[in-house]
Amino acid sequence: MMGEPLDVRDLHVTAITPNGDEIDIVKQVSFSLTQGEVLALIGESGSGKTTIALSLLGYARRGCRISGGSIRLGESSILDLPPAALRDLRGHRVSYIAQSAAASFNPAKCLMEQVIEGALRHGVMSRRDAEAKAVELFRELALPDPEGIGSRYPHQVSGGQLQRLMAAMALITDPALVILDEPTTALDVTTQIEVLRAFKRVVRERGTTAIYVSHDLAVVAQMADRVLVLNGGEIQEQGDIDQILDRPSHPYTKSLLEAARPEERLTPPTLERQGELLRIDDWQVGYGQRDAQGIPAKVVLDDISLCLERGQALGVIGESGSGKSTLAMAVAGLTAHSRGEVVFNGQELSTTLRGRTPDQFRRIQMVFQSADNALNPAHNVERILTRPLRTYFKLDEEERRRRVRELMDLVKLPHSLLSRRPGELSGGQKQRVNLARALAAKPDLLLCDEVTSALDTVVGAAILELLVELRSKLGVSLLFISHDISTVRALCDDVMVLYKGQCVESGDCASVIASPQHPYTQKLIGSVPELRRGWLESRPSFASLEQDCVA
């Protein structure tokens, strides 16, 4: 089957709120695609891009319904199909690749069974043909051990492999339309590039019409012919990829493009360094039982040495599993180091929380990635901010109130939010409260663990801007952990690259990023998609460094 043209007219999707009101979450969306064209849906969370993508399968999630419009794929009008015909369409003529492959595979069934299930249920081919075709697709998608991987279970393969297996599952029936919903968002950049390459090849070779949903413009630039920019369920702008990237006309598109290049707007403040704050020598950190030499069963970090001066910001980059979060946990005292020493403020720090003084606690504060989990949902903002003030300072009621309001000003939140609970705040506001909570202790060192990762690009960029400002205003030192090199470049003076628990390269941020020395750093930096067409094709394959081994 070849790709078929798609035409969407006046699509409306309605959601029913808990108190029974109906609101349109997708309004008057129209677009059309010729056969074999790839359209990207771009927008932030809540922009309706996934809702639109799902409605192309005639599907709306619980609490939503497709309330108007028409969707034509080739000869058929998807929204008018009876349930049985719709079932026959899904996973046959239209197929879907979801964001989280790890959650989208049934943990109790082996992979081959799930990959070919659709083809078998739709009676497209026999089991033997389906299995042979699946193996062929596995090979085409550059999966290791194409013959054997199908008999494994989802938990036995890595995230990048699962994502490619899901692509095989989607493509096995040679669909006319493929919908890719943020298929690489959950992956490390080094894995993402290989997966993108595989996706692009199989989609192009088959001439499949495709919808690519993403919030990442740089990724979209590699994959799409055309772009649809969405906000609040409405189309903001629609056009060729080149036009959107080079000559965006809508202000919203411009703000998205700007947020995607934080390092072009933001530069780390130049601060006078005032002596050493934190020094780590020859560290080893791990989990589990320690053996006779005191080496833990699972060593996460080894041979780590670093020096952080007052006011300095050190970025720590690496992919998931590189041990970067463990570094923050060990500095905070949540995980004990098994070798080496750490000197903070001229004093040796205890390996565990118990051995630390209240003043040391105050001086080192952690900002967690997920404000949702870090803030107590039952407390209002005022209470959340008052808590560290009570713990660390002897203030009277009046001073405490004043200090809480100062903190709100510092993170640029209106005082009216003080009575709200975290559940009533937006993602960006929650992260600001999270930051204010850490700043309440007047720390010397802030440990920021992926603080912008869970946020939309524009919101994340604003938080980054705030951090740059706080650095110059407060002179606080930062250990900034991120997988995103552009945020590190925008905020940090120095950078340290972690790979499998080892520091492979460190130094001045600008020079390391401009001319990385270690092959891994080169691979990591070279894998970050650039905001231009043809970047993917211009990258050499890093297959020789492929670390995507069996989990």
Partner: protein, 318 residues
């Protein structure tokens, strides 16, 4: 793979055995705290203190508690459950007379209740928030809420008194032929099923709905898989662990917890034996029954754990 399952099972077994040991200690301690002892019970109210003391020595009741515990435990392990004082029979013989009845009742109830409960739970989950689900919800909730003596009494009133179809009492000894068997067991089983089905169906529904909300079910739906296959082939294997646990908890009630049903239908089961033993201060019998119920419970939970492990490839292929 088999090796790791073996290891897990071995771990569960050993923790089960140690739990039983603790339980035996607790049972022994509690029964020792009860006022009066076997000697007093045998001799009756009018015995002189000297007579009681003499019998105590004869029965070994004058020994310190730890020693008595050890000798009781030793007896348990070698199959000697002691002597029932009020019945003047070995405890094991008494229990052997009642246990098959209880097991039969429990077995029949299980065979009927579990499939019905699974069916209702799955149907309810598939039609979530629709008419059938609401009706089933109301039914199961009221079944859980209504005390079983009421169900049993109503059943007797309707089927035995008004319609005269079934005998009001279950004389197991008079069973002749399959028709008789069904008539005798119909009402006790019906009563027990009423409560158990409701409990298990609710747990099954919750476990399945939990899975139906997960992304892989949405994925299956977007692959064009029909609702029945989604539930049976995709959700059910992942819900087996919690369902097996719910079933085990419900079934463990079938040995010790059926006293009301046994009493109303005059059914000679093991729960009634234990209640009589408590009333008669027949401590050896009480202890033996309590140990039996705990063992049954632990075995059921162990089986449920095994189901959960075998249905989960993460644990299966460690």
């Amino acid at each position: 793979m088999n090796n790791s399952i073996f290891k897990i099972v071995l771990g569960r077994l050993s923790s089960g055995v140690s739990t039983l040991l603790i339980v035996s200690l607790v049972i022994f301690a509690i029964t020792s705290l009860l006022p009066g002892d076997a000697a007093q019970q045998i001799l009756g109210q009018f015995a002189t203190p000297e007579q009681v003391a003499a019998l105590r020595i004869q029965l070994g009741l004058d020994q310190p508690a730890p020693l008595r515990y050890l000798s009781w435990l030793g007896g348990l392990l070698s199959g000697d459950l002691g002597q029932s004082v009020s019945n003047a029979m070995p405890v094991s013989e008494l229990m052997a007379g009642r246990l098959p009845n209880s097991l039969l009742l429990a077995g029949i109830t299980t065979v009927i209740a579990v499939p019905i409960a699974l069916l209702l739970g799955i149907a309810s989950a598939m039609c979530r928030d629709r008419f059938l689900d609401r009706i089933l919800n109301v039914c199961t909730l009221s079944m859980v809420a209504v005390p079983e003596f009421l169900v049993a009494t109503l059943a007797v009133l309707i089927f035995a008194v008004h319609l005269g179809w079934l005998p009001a009492l279950s004389y197991v000894s008079t069973v002749e032929g399959i028709g008789d068997f069904i008539r005798i067991y119909a009402m006790p089983v019906l009563t027990l099923c009423a409560v158990l089905v409701a409990q298990m169906a609710r747990m099954t529904r919750a476990a399945i709905i939990n899975q139906l909300d997960s992304p892989y079910i949405e994925m299956a739906r977007l692959k064009g898989i029909g609702p029945l296959r989604r539930v049976l082939n995709h959700a059910l294997p992942n819900a087996l662990g919690p369902i097996a646990n719910a079933v085990a908890l419900s079934l463990s009630y079938l040995l010790g917890g059926v006293i009301i049903v046994e009493t109303i239908f005059n059914y000679p089961g093991i729960a009634g034996l234990m209640v009589d033993a408590v009333a008669n201060r027949d401590l050896a019998l009480v202890q033996a029954c309590a140990m039996l119920f705990c063992t049954a419970y632990l075995v059921l939970v162990l089986i449920a754990d095994l189901c959960a492990i075998l249905s989960n490839p993460r644990l299966r292929h460690q």
